[in-house]
Amino acid sequence: MKIIVAIKQVPERDAQVRIDAAAKWIEESGLQHALNESDAYALEEALQLKEKNGGEVVVLIAGPERVGPTIREALAKGADRAIHIDCADLGKLDALGVARLLAAAIKPESPDLVLTGLQSDDLGQGQTGVILAELLGLPHSSLILHVEKTDAGLTVKRELEEGWFQTIELPAPAVLTIQSGGNKLRYATLMGIKRARSKPVLQVAEAELAIDAAPVVVLERVALPQKQKSTQILSGTPKDAAAALVEKLKFEARVL
């Protein structure tokens, strides 16, 4: 079973994000990057499938040179090889553009399964995986917590609202977008890191893939959310304070 896991490098979760001068993107200098969380779960799912069914796990990533450590992390955790689409500025692409890049790299591999995270922690559009399936002409399902290989294809567990789950069957190959939390992530080991050094990383230039990358969705402006929290302390006896609170909830907050 050959599984391709499309992953993304995003700013570290608790990074102090600043907006760049043009207000088109965030200031990248001094920013630490890490593997996108739901992609980490996609990788874990792929590794577990490989441990059960055998085969190969290939990680696919598009991004500038700084994605190197993320590739090594994925290889250290057990991926067999990597494909790096060298793309200096992912920000200039939209989800369709990224999906086209990924699809172009995936096609010659003809995998049995393509996994990717549900959405990225930075833009959070949740589009890339779904568009990728469309471009590859493969069936897809999203919000997946668990994947099982069957004789007929795949059985997957999907997350629905309010703690409901759905189990569906679909043919392979397919594209699945993985939800965080379905598995326990493994930790990186020294042995893994050392072994990763000798694993192949295929470098592909963006131009080589010859796709039409002109964005159809254009990012207009990036802004930090306005701080809107305001705290008022109501003084007086509990009775007066309660009366004042009811007043405010009724006429200022209009929630009663």
Binding site: E12, Q16, A34, L190, M191
Partner: protein
């Protein structure tokens, strides 16, 4: 005294038959010894070489050898009675070297020590004194082993040990008895032969029993790694720690064969004493069993049949075992080596462990909290950022930066530093020092953290570091050396003790009252630190004065020695100096180098529930039983563990304060409106 005037009797003539018999017996005994000893020696020498071992500087080795082997200082100091008994046996053996050589030489008519000559008379008398002491010593040890039977010697009686004790006793008695007979007396010949046979029987028993320590332990002590819990750097790309026999180094194998099974390690081990599976003695004997059965070239995993896989992960790395071991076994590099083997290969599966590793792979602290939490605390507490102009870099650590109680300790220590006029700043970005991953054997994450931190300290041109956490202190100062040169680091107890003269002394406070000095704090200043001062403790709200907890009498403060400050850093006096400024110091039954761990170390505080009794609870009960009104700590991890343990005690529990807090509550209230 009779011995001073008496002369040792020796048979004057040996027949040819006797001489032949002696040759055969000596050859058989020496041959028996060598055949068995060769096997052991081979296992040790065929083990992997210790890549990081250096014989030089040799001064400390010589000193350790003289102190621990020749003087038997550790043996005696940590267990005075049996230790002294052992020392008498050992010194007796040393005194007997010359006597024994002459004994066999005289059998062939080549005796060189004339019992009647001036030197012979002196030396035999001298040896007789030791023989007497040795006989009494071995009798004492025999009684201890077979009558008193302390539990750490194991449940099974060792008849081998009994037999050896009998042989030693016989050796001494036959020697001493020869002073009471004349040369011509037939009994002299009998005594001579019994002495000879006892000796020749003893020799071949040595290599396959714990008495091998006679031969090996002097070498083991001399060839130590040269530091407490010195974890050797991994050797090349194929070394991931202790996985199989092929990973056992010569030092490890030598140590495994040196164990004398005295059980001092077990006696002091917090895990073994609270119902865990870990027993440090059994770990060492497990390695010996592995070497005996499979040898140092085996690919069989070390964890499994001989040592259950969970055993190394029950170790708090308190180091009591390594500290106590009289034969120079370094348990911590072995236990941590076994962890390294399991963690560096991913064989260790533990949900809590994986969570900790993932938190430190990505984030900056062991709690898995966002770094913005640390930034917020720095702003709220008004801590200055280190900019290269200040004298000290105040290292916050995971506890000081993220834990509510740790933050209180930092805030109070910062107050004391300000009071003393010491300039300091905190790093803008600081990662976990790597202590929990270092001890758990995750070399990958440890290297990442050590390198990132060393870079940050070098960039900011930090000259000195001070920390409230003994784990940080040890890791920064010693363990980071594998990846760079850390600046000098000191623990806040060392810092505070240096300034002891300038800090207010509680009992003198009334005397100190003068116009020029700031108004000293009255007893109600205690109210700022009510019992169980937690994150939301009312001491932050100054509008609600608390009643004084002390009624004017001096506080009785019991100080708990943190493992990483005491045994690891040999700092015992300084925190006590600080404690004494605030009240009357009382000692727990187990103190100084015998201090009993709180259970947090070795990364265990981040792992799941303990099996058996909780170590921290046992220690907290011991501290409470001293009747002290305050438990003084010097480690935020101990503090955190005791906080939980004392919570069960309810209202009657003593106060729990770090030494920085003890000091801070004695400071004048200037500036605090």
């Amino acid at each position: 005294m009779l011995l001073l005037t008496a002369t040792l009797a020796e048979p004057q003539h040996f027949s040819v038959a006797e001489k032949l018999l002696l040759v055969v017996l000596v050859a058989a005994s020496a041959g028996g010894f060598w055949l068995r000893f060769r096997v052991v020696l081979n296992k040790i020498l065929r083990s992997k070489k210790d890549a990081s071992f250096h014989l030089f500087p040799i001064g400390k080795r010589v000193w350790d050898f003289v102190w621990e082997v020749a003087f038997q200082a550790k043996v005696i100091r940590q267990r005075p009675l049996p230790g002294l008994a052992h020392a008498f046996v050992f010194w007796g053996f040393c005194a007997f070297v010359l006597v024994t050589l002459n004994h066999f030489a005289s059998g062939f008519g080549a005796g060189f020590l004339d019992p009647a000559g001036p030197f012979g008379r002196f030396y035999y008398g001298f040896a007789a004194v030791f023989a007497l002491a040795c006989a009494v010593g071995i009798l004492g040890l025999f009684i201890r082993r077979f009558v008193v039977r302390p539990k750490w010697l194991g449940k099974e009686l060792s008849y081998q040990s009994g037999f050896i004790a009998f042989l030693i006793f016989l050796l001494m008695v036959t020697y001493l008895a020869a002073f009471f007979v004349s040369d011509a007396d037939p009994a002299t010949r009998v005594l001579w032969w019994v002495h000879t046979l006892a000796l020749l029987t003893f020799l071949p028993i040595i290599p396959h029993t714990k008495h091998l320590h006679l031969v090996l332990s002097p070498a083991t002590v001399f060839l130590s790694r040269g530091g407490f819990s010195r974890i050797p750097p991994l050797d090349g790309d194929d070394d991931f720690g202790l996985i199989a026999g092929t990973d056992l180094t010569r030092l490890v194998s030598l140590q495994a064969y040196s164990c004398v099974e005295c059980g001092r390690c077990t006696e002091h081990c917090p895990a073994a004493n609270t119902g865990k599976l870990l027993n440090p003695k059994e770990v060492i004997l497990g390695l010996r069993g592995y070497l005996n059965d499979l040898g140092p070239k085996s690919e069989e995993p070390l964890l499994g049949k001989y040592t259950p896989p969970q055993v190394p992960f029950q170790c708090t790395t308190c180091g009591a075992c390594e500290f106590q071991c009289p034969v120079g076994i370094e348990h911590l590099p072995i236990l941590i080596g076994l962890r390294r083997g399991a963690v560096n290969t991913g064989a260790w599966e533990d949900d809590h462990g994986a969570k900790l590793f993932l938190a430190l792979e990505r984030g900056a602290n062991a709690h898995g909290l966002p770094t913005s939490e640390r930034d917020k605390f720095i702003r709220r507490a008004g801590l200055p950022i280190f900019d290269g102009t200040q004298e000290y870099c105040l290292w916050l650590g995971c506890m000081g930066g993220y834990d509510p109680k740790g933050r209180e300790i930092i805030a109070d220590f910062a107050r004391v530093m300000n009071y003393l006029g010491a300039s300091f700043g905190v790093l803008r970005e600081e990662k976990c020092c790597g202590d929990p991953v270092r001890r758990l054997g995750n070399d990958f994450v440890f290297q990442q953290l050590a390198e990132a931190n060393l870079k940050a300290l070098a960039q900011d041109k930090v000259k000195r570091v001070v920390s409230i956490c003994p784990h940080c202190v040890r890791t920064l100062q010693e363990d980071w050396k594998d990846y760079g040169t850390p600046p000098p680091v000191e623990h806040h107890s060392e810092f505070l003790a240096r300034f002891a003269d300038k800090l207010p002394k509680r009992s003198n406070r009334r005397v100190e009252l003068s116009l020029n000095e700031p108004q000293p704090l009255a007893a109600n200043s205690l109210a700022r630190y009510p019992r169980e001062a937690g994150a939301n403790s009312p001491h932050l709200s100054k509008s609600q004065p608390q009643p004084p907890l002390s009624t004017g009498n001096e506080d009785k403060i019991v100080f708990h020695d943190p493992c990483y400050l005491g045994r690891y850093r040999n700092v015992y006096k300084q925190p006590r100096t600080v404690v004494k400024l605030s009240g009357e110091l009382v000692e727990a039954p187990r103190n100084h180098e015998r201090s009993f761990c709180c259970g947090a170390g070795g990364g265990l505080v981040f792992l799941g529930d303990e099996t058996g009794e909780r170590i921290g609870k046992v220690r907290a009960a011991e501290l409470v039983a001293t009747g002290a009104s305050v438990i003084g700590t010097a480690c935020p991890f101990c503090n955190s563990i005791f906080r939980d343990a004392l919570a069960e005690q309810g209202e009657g529990a003593p106060q729990l304060l770090d030494i920085a807090q003890l000091t801070a509550r004695g400071l004048p209230v200037s500036g605090a409106s």
